[in-house]
Symmetry: D3
Subunit: 334 residues, 6 copies
């Protein structure tokens, strides 16, 4: 069985019910989420062995994080405790043209204060064949950067496939490191690049457009720049508004370009974590199918996540395959 290891912060998402604003009701709903942990949960639902490494608060909030991951079958045995609090984000969900607003309380969180020396990467990488990281982790603190780099170096040496989702978030990166240099340093240790012209332009200082031609040029460019990279997977989104999206995916796997058909989500339930659903679908696909089917699988997984509440994609492989087969009418299954 495949084993995928992920590493990253888990936040508690706290939000009023439905489209209410915080000052309209004292009823809240919470989910846990974290871009890398979302990937782990999704991969676990798809039948893969997974382990997530992070640091949580040593209180009942941190305990609930572990309960949450365990519930979905993610191994939590390497999760560390800290006397710092768990990071939080508050969400006011928008609708139509009104944007959702997220407010973070994550500075100085348990994960930002991770103790690198406590991570036993050798235990983590035992029987592991995939390691996934995102650009959020090195953006948080020097500790999290160091821990990730160490993990990547060890994984790389062990020949574990490494997927990079190097999303650059300019509102983070407040601890002193140069974002672009650092991301390039870490991408250089990776094999699969999840991103498109935007991400490539950020890393390489280029200006590829969003056209397929330019996507291919950019993909070749980043593969040339970072020679460990072999394949580039991108997704594109058209947002009519907060409730109505269309998504499509494309790839350059070193030899060929493929693009999926577009899927339309006319009634978005929850947009958060859809990128993570794509990444999880992609990893599962690359572990089990050929590249083109992996891409279709990733796109369909991403589409389905829009219909799931919370941060993680709780759908099954069977449901995703059914979407690929064109069953889009959502008829009741008895």
């Amino acid at each position: 069985m495949n084993k995928v290891v992920t590493f990253g912060e888990i936040l508690m998402r706290i939000a009023p019910i439905g489209n209410k604003k915080l000052n309209q009701s004292n009823q809240l709903e919470y989910y846990f989420g974290g871009t890398e942990a979302n990937v782990a949960i999704s991969l676990s639902q798809l039948g893969n062995k997974t382990q997530h490494i992070t640091t949580v608060s040593e209180d009942f909030v941190g305990k609930a994080v572990k309960n949450y991951l365990q519930q979905y079958g993610v191994d939590t045995s390497l999760i560390m405790d800290s006397h710092h609090p768990l990071g939080i984000y508050f969400l006011e969900a928008g609708a139509v043209m009104r944007s959702s607003i997220i407010s973070y309380n994550r500075i100085n969180s348990a994960f930002c204060n991770i103790d690198v020396s406590q991570i036993d990467w050798d235990v983590a990488f035992k029987d592991c064949n995939w390691f996934h990281w995102t650009g959020i982790t090195p953006a948080l603190s020097n500790n999290t950067y160091s821990a990730l780099k160490e993990g990547l170096q060890i994984a790389s040496k062990k020949g574990i496939t490494i997927s990079a989702d190097p999303a650059y978030r300019s509102d983070l990166w407040n601890y002193g490191k140069n974002a672009i240099d650092t991301l390039n340093e870490l991408v250089a240790l990776s094999n699969i690049f999840i991103g498109g012209p935007n991400e490539i332009n950020e890393l390489l200082g280029t200006s590829y457009t969003n056209q397929n031609d330019d996507f291919i040029k950019g993909a070749k460019h980043i593969i040339k720049e970072h020679t460990n990279l072999t394949k580039v997977f991108d997704k594109t989104r058209t947002s009519l508004n907060a409730n109505w999206h269309k998504i499509k995916a494309r790839m350059w796997n070193g030899t060929e370009f493929t693009e999926t058909k577009e899927l339309e989500i006319t009634h978005v339930v929850d947009r958060i974590g859809t990128g993570d659903a794509y990444a999880a679908g992609l990893i599962h696909g690359l572990l089990h199918y050929d590249d083109a089917k992996a891409l279709e699988f990733a796109n369909a997984a991403c589409a389905l996540k829009h219909t799931i509440e919370g941060d993680a994609n709780l759908v099954t492989e069977k449901e995703i395959i059914s979407i690929i087969q064109g069953n889009l009418s959502g008829r009741i299954l008895r």
Copy 2:
């Protein structure tokens, strides 16, 4: 005043709130539902006298079923108790391309163990002028089949109009009887056929397409085969996805073909029970209007059910008439 009698199982629908999956929250919502009881409730809301016959558990769950039917004015005085439990179905509501999933717990339910000898059909059919049945009932157990057959024979002798909704559900029919033979036997006792090419093909082994021409041919065929039948009413649905449907209805009443205009439900609230809403609208229509208006009424009733939570169509005659008159903008009524 008209009196319509219905006979069939009532299940408890249990579901998480909104689009949540069962493992995401311990909050649930329940409704009672049963295809024939849904018809009775809807007919009661439309101003008709109704009586539903079934067997429920002798505990507080069964008591709540009676409370529920009584609330909406359905006569429950012939409902029987059993030491077997009430049937249940769990629902995880899908969205967009994600299917809703239903899981049943109905084998060996109170209704499956119905005691045929306890039903006093003479009391039930006193002042009754319509009896409605569906293909679910004979599919459940030999007991339910026998009870239904007895009811149909008595109703037929009394000259009560009988409407048949002979939906064939292949996942049922596990007690030994041949589904097709049995359904034909029961349809032969009926006067109004609710179904189209699909249902006709199943019963007659034919292969009519869904085109109007073929619908008419099929309708004529089934009327020829089962000479008690006089009219055939069908509805067609186009599902863009789980949230967006279009519906239309058509009929062959022995002399003419009519088709309604299409109604579009861009934001489906609850799809379950929409077929029952159609049947109820049709029966009400046939009891009060001419065939063509009955068909329009049934289609409009069906459309409105998509906007109602739960299994039963809780709209009024006035609301349905307003839809027929073209008031589709949903403006606030003060």
Copy 3:
């Protein structure tokens, strides 16, 4: 800082959750609302000083009204108490082609029994530069009519700008006064007319169509008739159904005609109070921008209200400006 004074009834809106009907659940949700108070709250959220004058019940319900207005920064120091109850409206929210239904319990409410002599208009109008009224107030009782008239006369004398939203609701006006004469009397005291051909035709007995040409003719006509009026602002709505609307706004400011682009609300969250959001946006716009931008601002404010639960528009100036700038994709703000 600008100060806007509003005067009118506040009702308690009580409704089942979601699309449920009242007899489907004993869970309810409440909001306070009133067309003029909604304007005050919205103007307060946009950064203006506001004061609302009304009469509420002297019990904990009335106290909660004051708490509610204070929460959003509206001055409640002139609100009066009465031993009559607060007015209420029950709402069953429709969907798609099913209309929402509102049932009022407001006859003989605290506000209808307002004691005109208790209102200290001089205190209210201190530092005030805008007074807003609607046609609901004079429709309720002779007391409310007299109070409003007095307020308008004093405001007019003080040179305060007066905006009139003279919606004629034929189901009200049960206390003996002639609606049309009365509304004309009060519009004559006003400077800004919020309404279009419908409202103008009602007041003047004319028959202008909804075309822009006719709108301009009607606007000129009403300005000619009531010489205090200088500008006419209208909005038009296309309702595909209860969940899907398109809105647009237009004006004749005495010298030029302008029309906004159309905004489409594909997934309406709450339609109630959208007209008040338009009025508030307009007043804010006229206080801070030129007429054309004020119109765009009003239309965008109105669009955003469709995404907010409850009666009042709780959005910020920044959010509205962003809509004017064309940011309609509803992407998450972090």
Copy 4:
């Protein structure tokens, strides 16, 4: 089978959840309640035929009242509609030493405007052997007084047993009639007096203490005064605080005095309607048992109501009998 007819107003009880105050949350819960209707529902749960006569609003609120009564098996066929609204009461539930607060919105309600001429008492009293009234009804309006008086006169003539619960509520009686004279006039038409020294003192202007001796004297006095009366049933309550009560009942049936043992309710769930539960238990008891057992039954029914949410006592005869038999430990029944 016995049939009990009740007559009186039904109010909608609207309250925040738990012990919250109205301004702490916009979540509400509703129940319908009315002292006489509560008696009808309880008697229906105990297996008796019941009919309630009242006037409700002609909107969906009034419709929900009928649904509610029907749910529990109360005949609603004589309930009238009115264009006046249904009466409402808001409740903030207290705890320990903090009092619950009730605020009424019932002046000019549908029931206050009842049209006496619409009541068909002959239909109501067909096969009826018990009529129950309370002092709330004549306190509301001249209409309700007149309707009640007519009902009592007809019932009396037909030899139907009449129970009177002549609670005097000084905050009502605002329409001009003298409360004491009127209550005496109506009690004079009754056979069973539900009340004790307090109520007797109010009616007769006496000053009996709450001691048993004085209770007996008072009972004899009122029976002597109103010669149709034959029996007097009282209950006494010791409230340690809002959550902890002790109740006891006593009677003078013309020949003997009996007192029940005291029942202790250490954790009150809902106090409202406990007096109505007593009255219903008493009527049921007098219809089925001897006087002493009827008294025990009434006291136990009253005790159990303290554990039921809402206004009506939804317990079964079996549950009440079990309390009389001394099963007070509340152990789980499987």
Copy 5:
């Protein structure tokens, strides 16, 4: 680390919120529970390795059971799937003298249809040093009896300590086996007896009273009868009513009698599963402390369960130890 294996049915508990009756609201709450699984969860919370063996439905309900156990760290890798549904129980929670009512839907459940041949006891008992069973399991079906007997025989051979909670439930045992003979047969394979005079009398046909003297005599008697037994642990409960209990525990460990102090639960939150909390506390205690402290620990664990919602005891060892140390004031821990 210790490993405890449990074997038994898991049911879904479905209940209205608070003290509502099922017909008062369509809002429900669910928990999973099963006497043996409750023990496993509690032992897991206390830091022990646990594995639960059962059969669940192969649908999303069964999946949620596994999610639930995994959440609390119980190994689910040996749980089997079945096409039969998961057993259910409905609960209406009582209060004070009103009993809670439970209605079961478990006949023919997934667990009753367990396939004995699928259980790999050798895997289950690897590194296991404790096996716990209750009298519910052999009472359900011949399948469950056979599976349990096989497990006990294997565990016994492997020298694993076996605790028996042989509760006799006369409403079960409908599949033909003699309850008393069967329970004796299984207790004979066990080492620790959890029960007192009631259970001993049922098994041995004796009539020991509930006095401590008789408890000791009975304990000696059952140990003499079933020579594998070495210790007997009992608990006694005084129920003032459904909300107010007092509990105490006692033991005869073959050489000495000990009794704990009494703990008073003045405000019971949830009584279900308190016996399982006792059993789990006892097993944990016997694995870590001496017999007398184990008994105190079990009693304190049981007391704390009364304050936890749901079936399982989610408290920590630290919380239980604190109760033993006499910290009963429930002061806030920061």
Copy 6:
């Protein structure tokens, strides 16, 4: 009118519903709370003018804090914004002997980073006659200590009465200052001491017992030590368990000792903020009554807070007076 100024941190309390643990449900409820702000809200409910000074996050969470204070009439015009997050505490509510657990996320919060230079004490203290502080504020950070000290010095100079609630919380005070020295420094600037032997012993290093005699000695001692102090007010609590408390209050006002009668709270709704309710009641009492009545008022206010959900005491002066008058039965007020 009196004006009371308070200064201190406001935290968001986030908790599962009822007695659930965080991992049992994703439904949460929130309240805002802060010991000093709680005092301000309570004083505002009692009819006093109040202003609270603090720093909140500049996001929608901080905005909701202001909305919350404004709702209850507290002046928020001097509240500052910060890019640091609002402090949070998570609560799992215990029951009976199970402790509630609070977990804080307040390090580095908006308030800890308060900018002393931004506070305009002169505006705050305009028309102010009372300033209240607690020992939480100087315990948080050097910034908060400095700000408080400045405020106390200015208030003292202006002759404003200063009340000190110098609760020493050893888990705070992590920024370097010596707690005892600092608290003494600040108490020296105060006039009213709220505390008893515990607090006095902490400040003075003494060892007074909890007896009244020793309380008086301690009170005299602290007054002697800090000569600005004139009166000492204490409260004592007996906790049978988390749900059942008894409270009493005592004072030494420089010339006489008084003790209130004990109030028993048999069913605690929410314990948090009861000390703040006492302080607010005391301040109101001292502003309006003599010392002895102020003490009774404070004790009754404190008792009532135990019945209110959330952190602030939302009761009226009338309700408190009624408790003092001995109305403890909690009977319904209509």
